[in-house]
Symmetry: C2
Subunit: 460 residues, 2 copies
């Protein structure tokens, strides 16, 4: 009945049913498996999203929101009686305003297209992560996506000036302003950023742009111990004064895997060091910036803060260095029965946390490999386990080994990816019961029928 | 009855009544006028705040929250049957962690004490505004305070990693984490930032610190027109690549008043130019940074982007330049019947907006002076009117002249100060009815008895 009403209002081009549903998929890594849903709705405008939701709300019809389908916590999976709303047809860049330094976009625009549009206007949209070629900006907003440049520019939350979202009952909340400061009442757009589509569907945004950096310098350095990693971060951050844009830590497990057969990359500095840091400075004058970085590295070497370093000589060196960090698909052959994590730990505690985790896992024969790397300047570490077997018990056992210490440490079970369906069972390790109760109070206030992305983050 | 119950639980030292109430005040500018309240509560801990609120909630007892009493929108005024909770005794800096680059503080710590504590640990807490010597960090969080360095470091919202707040019913929502990235469920702390104490009382925070800048350079420049102001902002921002930390626009009305009798400052560059910009670069090497700035200014002069400029030669010059911007109390003698504004306008529209406002006001004889200045890089302009008479009609007429165009422009009636009581009537010009309804929905969900700072921002 609800599907029929949607068909009557939107027409068949915007309401897919039957085979048109099952030839779609719920994740870009699962393109072979057919989508399950009562219908897939392809709205073209915010008012269509509003119509659709007001009808679904009337019928208490659960809705699952689809963006670029690059999420990593199962949020886009649907059941056969659910309706999928995909924002893929709302893919217009509406305006680039280089004076206000903003871009106005619909939710279905692909991140890479935003980056390119900014670049061709002399600007930078700093949000950057692996899935940029498929991820929609609406999904990035809904999950408060992070990535490689959060240290300097902030997470998605910090890059959004204006936002438009549709509540479960179809109410449009629109505040598409280009201004940086607006303390006129509650900043309600914060509700829709990082709430994984459970409080409203993001339909449009005004993005904050930066002037495009005119130069880039990349360094890979080796360090003798974790204490020095923290000291080197502080030293380079102070010395580079606002231009340090990425500071990634690569454990030897990662660096050596990415720079040995079958991975295609040569190592810029030798294997065998305890820690590797890859950093980027985005600034305005390549030559002068390079001299400054050389002086800083020299000082760091003289003071035994670092034990080796390579500075990219040109753009092709930069690509080489950063491919080692970004092209993680080369790790796949090494990691059978892949199990990945995306955690936060307070920066000074990361070294010990990883060491003790590795020690514990060494005693578990089914764990063949642990690879760790990540955005150490944000306290955000990615971990990948390779295993000899795949079983729910082993998955759960490893989850517990990784997650349990985080409560005590004040860390997070999800730095970037969100909770979705996959991490619900561990949410209590990141959030107190009072916090979770408050989340539910918000959910109930905004979506009393629990139709929007139900059972994501928590169960009502 | 409620006061008696609070006395029984907390003891008389923490519950002031009678003369001890009336010898207090509600604003640092109103120290002569006695405070009206049934009692003033001085909790020493979060759990005491929680006890107090659970009792007040039980009795449906309205509560007004006091911090440093430096707010500018009437939020701290109370009525005689209301209870004031002051956070002044919760004034401990609990920890400074230079490795995590965080400071853990109670809500009643004065901003300047935080700045000093950061500095003496080689760190910077970038939040900075005129009232720093009295303002509490809890108030700054509750109002999402802005100030002089938002352009680079963000508003208060961006400087808070962890937060603890108490809901109206006494529930403690505590997430005192030191991590930058945490996407585990809704970021509930956002609710308490900028909601002016209406959704909860902030009791503690984990602040994000930066490495202390090792050098500062200040420039004052003159520009021929507003178009060039925007172009100069973009040029200097790109050229200074991450180190541009403040970019203030001073109209001649402001600059000439602050650098003429009776104000005590000499003008660094002559009077008579159409626009003045005061900018700051915080970086790591004064000498090299100065050379870079000189080269940029030379280029800007050659290309007629600017028509004059002075670069501070030393710290005393810097103080001189910045006193012109910061010591606005020297304007007081010029501004009878003071009426102030704190608005946002999209950056490219500011020049025309101010010109047209001045033109309109020139035709109103009771308006003697309009002084404009502000954080133009944030789109945030402060306006001060001096008038020959004071009447509610004239106040309202000027409010309308300033506020009415903002809706069409996509601006804000309050960039920094908040809405409080004073700006409630104009909230509809900054926010749609749907947004205001959503704010009320949140208020009702979190404070169903409407006891927390009632009648602030909007009436229920």
């Amino acid at each position: 009945m609800v599907v029929q009403e949607l068909l009557n209002i939107l027409g068949p081009g915007k309401v897919l049913t039957g085979a048109s549903v099952s030839e779609r998929y719920f994740h870009i890594w699962a393109t072979q498996s057919g989508l399950q849903a009562a219908a897939v709705i392809l709205p073209r405008s915010t008012s269509e999203v509003s119509h659709v939701l007001s009808i679904c709300n009337k019928y208490v019809q659960p809705v699952i929101v689809h963006g670029g389908l690059t999420g990593l916590v199962g949020s886009t999976e649907s059941e056969k009686e659910q309706i999928v709303i995909s924002l893929e047809k709302m893919n217009s860049i509406e305006e680039i305003d280089t004076q206000s330094r903003t871009m106005t976009v619909q939710a279905g625009v692909i991140l890479e297209n935003i980056q390119e549009a900014a670049k061709s206007n002399g600007m930078l949209f700093p949000l950057n992560f692996g899935a940029k070629g498929s991820a929609h900006i609406g999904g990035a907003i809904s999950t408060n996506a992070g990535g490689l440049r959060v240290f300097r520019y902030g997470q998605t939350r910090n890059l959004i000036l204006g936002l438009e979202a549709v509540l479960a009952d179809g109410t449009i909340i629109s505040s598409m302003k280009k201004i940086i400061k607006d303390n006129s009442g509650y900043d309600v757009k914060q509700l829709f950023i990082g709430s994984e589509g459970t409080l409203g569907i993001v339909t449009k945004a005004v993005l904050r742009l930066q002037e495009a950096p005119q130069s880039r310098n990349s360094v890979i350095a080796a360090l003798p111990n974790y204490k020095n990693v923290v000291a080197f971060l502080k030293f380079m951050d102070a010395g580079l004064a606002g231009t340090l844009s990425a500071f990634e830590l690569l454990w030897p497990s990662y660096y050596e895997s990415m720079t040995s057969d079958p991975a295609p990359f040569k190592p810029p500095i030798p294997h065998g060091y305890p820690y590797y840091v890859l950093l980027d400075s985005l600034a305005s004058n390549r030559g002068k910036d390079k001299l400054r970085i050389e002086a800083l590295l020299e000082h760091a070497l003289e003071n035994n803060l670092i034990i080796d370093a390579a500075l990219a000589e040109n753009e092709s060196d930069q690509q080489w260095f950063w491919s080692i960090r970004e092209q993680i698909e080369h790790l796949q052959p090494l990691l059978k029965n892949f199990q990945g994590f995306d955690i936060s730990v307070p920066i000074p505690a990361i070294g010990t946390y990883i060491n003790s985790l590795i020690e514990t896992c060494d005693a578990i024969p089914e764990i063949e490999k642990i690879i760790s790397f990540g955005h150490v300047a944000d306290g955000n570490i990615h971990l990948i386990f390779g295993k000899s077997v795949q079983s729910p018990e082993l998955v759960h056992r490893i989850n517990k080994l990784v997650y349990l210490p985080l409560k005590e440490l004040g860390g997070s079970i999800s730095a970037e990816h969100g909770i979705g369906i996959d991490k619900k069972d561990y949410l209590y390790l990141s959030r107190s019961q009072n916090e979770i109760d408050l989340m539910k109070r918000l959910k109930k206030a905004l979506d009393p029928n629990n139709i929007l992305n139900p059972s994501r983050i928590f169960d009502m």
